[in-house]
Subunit: 331 residues, 2 copies
């Protein structure tokens, strides 16, 4: 029921997903009548509706949603993961409420202090993964270190990269670079056994050959949103230029196939789907503004994480680093 | 002597600047022989060389530069501002060393706690100014507040905007948005009398109608570098697409004038020149990779700040807010 466009987009993307994927069933959680209307006469063989009576608003306070909305589509979808009826939950709803509810219902993995949000972002070398994207502000060095372990394991499990290149997001201006947390996390990472390549600055996210970029949730969120903003700004400026005169319209026509190919490279829909990492279950957050192609991508990410058994692998890796004694658990 | 390209670019841009601007003299500070070679037979009427024997390396520790390089081009250029022989200093050198030296030689304004770095960035509405860009990590609410006052006054003085729209960079994920410093700065700004429009997220820097974006130096630096990275990534992807096949090369030829116009809109050279704000003198930092057009832009920014008497105005404004008693001075 979440997202800017409501159940229409989710239902359409569910049908697209089922057409493309064998041996996967979907449960649509939400207002039965509304979902039914969007389903129409579609084949419901591998599709169930789980009716709920409440919805979490996109701007609702997470604590309020958690206390007062026990029959919301969001809560029930996560309950289904907890009970084992579902293997993963995909939602385009309120991020704060989704994280709070997932944390409350599923719990964090035993060795993980704080769950984090991770997504893939396009880069010159294909793409990179970045975390945390806003679940945690004011992270300690140990938090950043755990994010690195989780991100590295995700990329190994889902993409088959044996030793993902991990970097810490930092700035180059201060005498001894960055703030205290980042400097200490750097020390922890240097002796971690991860394939740690050191600091990266903001531009490096998109230009350097890196698999995992680690940042505090405040910084990571700003970095992600900035990149979305610049991309929108570029698309807008380009299309304005191509519409200015009759000559530029003609040129735009000639350039259309190339511009389309270019847009595909940058298409944020191909990257839609952020994972809530560090929980005892799989929860994927779709962008609120996702269309059916974008939301379908988020379902595919969930499927990959199911096949890769992400929560178990993350738990083992973080636990292993904790046991190795080269960094201390956080109180 | 600083920057990635050394004195060649600086000399060339100085000559361009002199050709475009009446009644301004320039002093080139650095290695006399090298500068002389680049000047060749150029007219030296409004141009002096101030010879120095040392250079600050681009990766040199600021404290080392400050102690050991008293006859560096950077130090002497700032000394000239201090003594009044120059009205402003423009440098493409090591940012950390430039800030440390400027702070040490010129001192901060009496009412200012920490100088900050500000620059203009392109946006859908023309451009916006963002600070701090890396001079200060771990800022308090009071620091952020002072940045807002300084940024607002700069935009008023240099661009003639009576009440610049000021926003605080934040994230939308946390229950009560953002971290403690930002929330407290929000409170200070709400009762400041500035034209404060509230929080902005990363994408809003480039999409919203805002004149001043205020952030901690770590966050602001990441935001700026991210935008540079995405812009480079876009330019690279576009040109790759237009070079793929003979058809796309032809289409690229047709689209050339439009793409050129588009690149002009986004051209980082038009935005080159970050101001060190809050000091008792004008210091402009050019991007290390600046070419002669970009560096010339930085000199024009210096000239604008001279005409607007920026240090005096900033000092008065920050002092006025301090006197008004609605926020406390920082120890």
């Amino acid at each position: 029921m979440g997202g800017d466009h409501g159940p229409g987009v989710v239902v359409a993307s569910a049908l697209r997903f089922l057409a493309a994927s064998d041996r996967v069933d979907l449960i649509l959680v939400g207002d039965e009548a509304k979902i039914g209307r969007h389903l129409g006469s579609a084949d419901r063989t591998r599709l169930k509706i789980r009716p709920t009576t409440q919805e979490v608003g996109m701007d609702e306070a997470p604590s309020k949603a958690l206390r007062g909305k026990k029959d919301s589509s969001m809560r029930v979808a996560i309950d289904l993961v907890k009970s084992g009826e579902a293997d993963a939950c995909v939602s385009a709803g309120n991020t704060g409420a989704l994280m709070a509810t997932a944390r409350f219902v599923l719990k964090t993995l035993p060795s993980v202090d704080r769950p984090a949000i991770i997504t893939a972002v396009p880069s010159l070398h294909g793409h990179t993964h970045m975390l945390d994207l806003g679940a945690n502000v004011d992270c300690t060095a140990e938090h950043l270190f755990q994010f690195a372990v989780m991100g590295s394991e995700l990329v190994t499990a889902v993409e088959g990269v044996a030793a993902p290149r991990v970097a810490l997001l930092n700035i180059g201006q201060e005498e001894i670079k960055g703030n205290e947390q980042v400097k200490q996390a750097n020390e922890l990472l240097l002796r971690s056994g991860l394939n740690y390549v050191g600091y990266v600055e903001g531009d490096g996210i998109f230009l350097d050959d890196i698999d995992v970029v680690v940042a505090d949730g405040f910084v990571g969120n700003v970095a992600l949103k900035c990149s979305e903003g610049v991309a929108k700004f570029v698309r807008h400026s380009l299309s304005t230029q191509f519409k200015r005169t009759w000559f530029s319209r003609l040129a735009g026509l000639a350039a259309m196939p190339i511009l389309k190919q270019f847009r595909r490279t940058m298409d944020p829909r191909r990257y839609n789907g952020a994972s809530l990492l560090g929980l005892r279950g799989i929860v994927i957050k779709s962008h609120g503004g996702a269309d059916e192609i974008a939301f379908e991508n988020a379902i595919h990410i969930a499927l990959k994480e199911i096949h890769a058994n992400i929560p178990k692998r993350i738990g083992e890796q973080v636990g292993r680093h904790l046991d190795s004694g080269h960094y201390k658990a956080i109180a």
